[in-house]
């Protein structure tokens, strides 16, 4: 038997902060194992050697905010056998999807000295709005252990063991005391697991970094937030963060949209 060739991996960046692809470099102890198992052919963040495609696996970070990127993601898809999106930008549009709720030209005019040089789309959209995606790994940023699980599953040809239930389940497994029952508004009950219930472990309410869980009952949660004294404006802001454009969070934020700011 000949040595099986290592699958070729590419890591792509679209509109994003680089935090999720840095999770791969952040693997440290496991990074050598990753490099042994996978040929990291294209990863500009890590290496100036840029191998040509096609690639067995592409990890895509970032959202689509320009016409150029909308074209580029199609090329990436065409050169990738499997395409996995990583992080809130790639899976939900990211924090930059706040533009979807306003007029982007106003932002451009406010931020740039010469707005005429800026060519941008009116919206920030997830990769799945443009090309078929094989798996979406959530989080802002992603959890490196979950990234390793996705890579290991890909190599073994199995489904990644990534749960889509609420943060509450991992919070309770961890033995945390529920902060919401103690009076702190928390998005955990409607948020996708993956972080290990990081914020509640430090006595903070969940910020919803992993986006909506599988069956997010956002209206029921928002009612309880109101009974904890949270103003509609604050509820809107809570749902409008890194996953503002994720369907369930967008709808809930819009339900609290007609209130005075």
């Amino acid at each position: 038997m000949s040595e099986p060739s290592r699958p070729r991996l590419a890591v792509w960046k679209f509109a994003s902060c680089d935090g999720c692809q840095l999770s791969l470099l952040d693997c440290e102890d496991e990074l050598l194992s990753v490099a042994e198992a996978i040929d990291i052919a294209y990863f500009p963040e890590a290496s100036s050697a840029m191998g040509e495609g096609p690639y067995e696996l592409s990890l895509v970070e970032g959202s689509i905010t320009t016409a150029h990127d909308a074209e580029r993601i199609r090329e990436v898809r065409a050169r990738s056998r499997h395409l996995v999106t990583i992080g809130a930008c790639a899976t939900a549009g990211g924090i930059q999807a706040l533009r979807n709720f306003a007029d982007v030209d106003d932002f451009v005019a406010a931020v740039y000295a010469s707005p005429e040089y800026i060519a941008t789309l009116a919206t920030s959209t997830p990769i799945s709005a443009h090309v078929p995606v094989d798996f979406e790994l959530r989080g802002c940023p992603i959890n490196k252990l979950q990234l390793l699980e996705v890579l290991s599953a890909f190599l073994a040809g199995r489904r990644p063991a990534i749960a889509a239930h609420s943060v509450c389940i991992e919070c309770k497994r961890r033995g945390n005391v529920c902060v919401m029952v103690q009076g702190t508004p928390c998005l955990g009950p409607v948020t996708h697991a993956g972080c290990g219930a990081l914020c509640p472990a430090y006595r903070r309410g969940c910020y919803g970094c992993y986006g909506p869980m599988e069956t997010p009952q956002t209206a029921a949660l928002a009612r309880e937030w109101q009974s904890l004294g949270v103003a509609p404006r604050e509820i809107r802001h809570a749902f409008r963060s890194f996953n503002a454009a994720a369907e369930a969070f967008r709808e809930e934020s819009e339900a609290h949209d007609d209130q005075a700011p």
Binding site: C168, I169, R173, G175, M180, V181, Q182, G183, G188, L221
Partner: protein, 381 residues
């Protein structure tokens, strides 16, 4: 189990005696676990001494609400039950079932090393004794015994405490599971506290308990002490925060799967799974298989799961229980009705945790009462 017909031997210890109890258990190699104040709650964790017990604290519990409050005395057990249950020690949230390794000789499977730990639980309430007995039936009865649970359970030493305070969401009286510890303990304490004294009446429930008591400074309990202890329990029983009518409850739930109340609760339910995690009897787990990057090692991990997740009822092509209505109905009907068909008792011990720790305060006693109030067709058993 007729404790009144044959009174157990009883003794009195004071606070120093309680410290001696903890020391004696530690001396015998137990990992002593008990209640303590942390994160503005009373949780169960490793206990070194009575100074760590939540002296002078109690809690205010309501549906979806929990607050610690000061007591006007120095009671060590002057609260009901907190967010944790002993389940997390006997039936841990995450447990590796096996690991596998592949090398040139082939594939080798290994069971994890059996834990050497022996638990001693201090402060187990009557409802919790019943919860442990229920999980015993799940994990130990029948042909498939859970070896890890069996080992942990066999080694455990249980010091029960009769409740001196009823929580706002307690309903053990309805479930006939408390507030007095009747069986399933090695020693049972009742805290006797007034201006003149701070003692604990100790009842012996096993030979191991009797042997341990002999190691402690103690004195015989008199009839007045027994009466004082009975008064504590009777007062607690009269102060239950909740009530659940269990008469005909099994038929009521099983005969009304289409009751409109299920739609009503589905509007409020977050499907977050907190009730199942907080419940001391919910036992469901999922198994995850993980392989490493090199393809040489794999492991199977068992974790607490919940009937509120979609994966829980996932079969080929989808989940059986798609709706919040279906999932809440499954949980409550199993807990209060089909559990009886399956294991011979209700799955509920009336501890109130599912009520207190539901982030939106859904109250199982209120849901049952609402269905009973308007059920079109429920029959007497």
């Amino acid at each position: 189990m007729e404790p009144e017909a044959m009174p157990r031997p009883a003794a009195l210890i004071d606070r120093q005696g309680l410290q001696a109890l903890i020391d004696a258990l530690a001396d015998e190699g137990y990992r002593v676990l008990g209640p303590m104040r942390r994160d503005d709650a009373i949780v169960y964790d490793d206990l070194a001494g009575i100074d760590e017990l939540p002296a002078g604290w109690t809690e205010r519990q309501e549906a979806g609400r929990y607050r610690l409050e000061r007591r006007d005395d120095a009671a060590l057990f002057g609260y009901a039950v907190g967010p944790h249950s002993w389940k997390r020690f006997l039936h841990p949230p995450v447990e590796t079932l096996w690991t596998a390794h592949r090398d040139e000789h082939g594939l080798t499977f290994r069971a994890p090393e059996p834990a050497e730990e022996r638990f001693a639980f201090l402060g187990v309430r009557a409802c919790e004794l019943h919860a442990i007995a229920i999980q015993d039936r799940v994990f130990l009865d029948g042909p498939y015994v859970d070896a890890g649970y069996a080992a942990r359970r066999r080694e455990a030493f249980i010091v029960a405490v009769n409740c001196g305070e009823a929580g706002g969401t307690c309903f053990c009286v309805s479930m006939q599971t408390g507030p007095r510890a009747e069986a399933g303990f090695d020693l049972a304490l009742t805290e006797l506290l007034d201006a003149e004294r701070h003692d604990f009446l100790v009842e012996v429930g096993s030979a191991a308990g009797a042997a341990l008591l002999e190691r402690l400074p103690h004195r015989p309990a008199g009839e007045a002490d027994r009466e004082a202890a009975a008064t504590v329990v009777a007062r607690t029983a009269s102060r239950m925060g909740r009530r659940l009518e269990t008469d005909g409850l099994k038929a009521l739930l099983q005969d009304n799967p289409e009751h409109p109340r299920w739609d009503d609760v589905a509007e409020r339910c977050l499907t977050c799974g907190n009730c199942t995690m907080a419940c001391p009897t919910c036992f469901c787990t999922t198994v995850e298989d993980h392989s490493d990057l090199s393809g040489t090692s794999a492991e199977r991990v068992r974790q607490w799961d919940s009937c509120f997740t979609l994966d829980f009822s996932y079969l080929h092509a989808g989940s059986v229980r798609q709706t919040p209505r279906g999932r809440y109905r499954q949980w409550m009907t199993h807990k209060l009705a089909s559990w009886i068909d399956q294991f011979g008792t209700s799955g509920c011990v009336g501890c109130g945790r599912c009520i207190t720790w539901c982030p939106v305060g859904i109250d199982i006693t209120e849901e049952a009462a609402a269905i009973r109030a308007t059920a079109p067709d429920w029959r007497d058993d």
